[in-house]
Amino acid sequence: MHVLTDNWSAYWHGFLGTLWLTLVSAALALVLGVVVAGFRVSPVKPLRAFGTGWVTVLRNTPLTLLFFIVVLGLPRFDITLPFFTFAVLALGCYTSAFVCETLRSGVNTVPVGQGEAARSLGLTFTQTLGLVVLPQAYRAVVAPLGSVMIALAKNTAIAGSFSVVELLGTYRTLNELGYGIVWTFVWIAVGYLVLTLAISALFNLLERRVAVSR
């Protein structure tokens, strides 16, 4: 127990780092995921091809490799950003591929007639998707999207190896101070649990909300 109380500030900073990294990357992943899912179901062939390419590349690249590409690759094009921003880019883009596929499978649960009716009324593709199809896909998507977000929260641990302050990284400091490795990690694990259980609870709530509507 004293590992935690003695080093409350280190843990707290690490936890905040992980929380913040998760929230910002999740926001980026959701926005990109919706856009790329839109591309993948659009009637425009180049957009579909781009969407497919995006998902194929990002979903099939190990996240650590992606971090290396972003952190070492972008500076070669004179793009130098804070490490936090690099980490958000890597995590956000990587996760967007999974968000996209989750949304796309949700879109496929909506009967085609819904989209046809919308189009027959003169709604454009974007309106059809945004006003008719995605709102109905949403209920099928909530639960798997929760899993994607939990995976994202855990994936933020990789950012610690790239100079970003986050929860897992606190073990190095504590290790140097001579604390026992087991309890150091137990408290780190508890920190991740707090975050992931909170995400679970949030998505359970969302699930119950969509269950009562309609």
């Binding site: 007639g113 046809e116 009716a117 919308a118 189009r119 003169g122 709604l123 309106q127 309609r214």
Partner: protein, 269 residues
């Protein structure tokens, strides 16, 4: 050819007021040499069809004859491989905003109703008015309620589609299409998914529309409706238009063997 008729921009077609048999106006929907395949199946073969303003054309034929595909090709829910589809003399664009704009002028009623399941009845009727016609919310709701009144469903405005019977849902779908002030309405087997007792409430609404001069293309198996409300009956078989005649002539004396065979099967029991 350029767009015929200066009256094209006037909106709702109240001009001809055609009851069955009355003279009809200039061409509103034209299909010229339209072809389409589903894999090996040549589902539309050199289709030529002209529907005049105020005309009610009923399309009948055995299943698989291509009549639904024909109906859906008119607003390009089904793409065609060759030939042209013209609405008021304008060729239907392949995609994008131009296509959406023309679709707004041609309402469609589906076999499976396709009401927006996540929106109330009133929202179903107002959504496209606000988003496509850019009407204010109050104006759209007033028009929506007036149309729901017209199809006898004003009391159900705040329900969700799943809470209505099939016949009621289909009447809402008609109101939803009418809310756009369309120049023509397409009906793709509007009563085929309904219990028998609900068919008439939908046909009654359609008869009223026909009598008021709405241009309609109706794919149906309701021969009673074809006889009483149609200006023309188009008989399709194997992807071709086999006969295109006034209903009384067609039902009394079908010219083709195919049509005689079809009628004998559906009328004799």
């Amino acid at each position: 050819m350029t767009a015929p008729g200066e009256g094209a921009g006037e909106g709702t077609g109240t001009g001809s007021g055609a009851a069955a048999g009355a003279p009809v106006g200039e061409p509103l929907i034209e299909l010229r040499g339209v072809n389409k395949h589903f894999g090996q199946l040549h589902v539309l073969q050199d289709i030529d069809l002209t529907v005049g303003r105020g005309e009610v054309v009923v399309v009948i034929g055995p299943s698989g004859s291509g009549k639904s595909t024909l109906c859906r090709a008119i607003n390009r829910l089904e793409t065609v491989e060759s030939g042209t589809v013209l609405i008021e003399g304008q060729p239907l664009p392949a995609e994008g905003k131009g296509l959406a704009k023309l679709r707004a002028e041609v309402g469609m009623v589906f076999q499976s109703f396709n009401l927006f399941a996540h929106r109330t009845v009133l929202q179903n009727v107002t959504l496209a008015q606000v988003k496509v016609r850019k009407r204010g919310k109050a104006e759209a709701e007033a028009k929506g309620r007036q149309l729901l009144e017209r199809v006898g469903l004003a009391a159900h405005a705040d329900k969700y589609p799943a809470q209505l019977s099939g016949g009621q849902q289909q009447r809402v779908a008609i109101a939803r299409a009418l809310a756009m002030d369309p120049k023509a309405l397409l009906f793709d087997e509007p009563t085929s998914a309904l219990d028998p007792e609900m068919i008439n409430e939908v046909l009654e609404v359609m008869r009223t529309l026909a009598a008021e001069g709405m241009t309609m293309v109706v794919v149906t198996h309701e021969m009673g409706f074809a006889r009483s409300a149609a200006n023309r009956v188009v008989f399709m078989a194997d992807g071709r238009i086999v006969e295109d005649r006034a209903p009384e002539e067609f039902f009394a004396d079908p010219r083709s063997e195919r049509a005689r065979d079809f009628l004998s099967k559906i009328l004799k029991h």
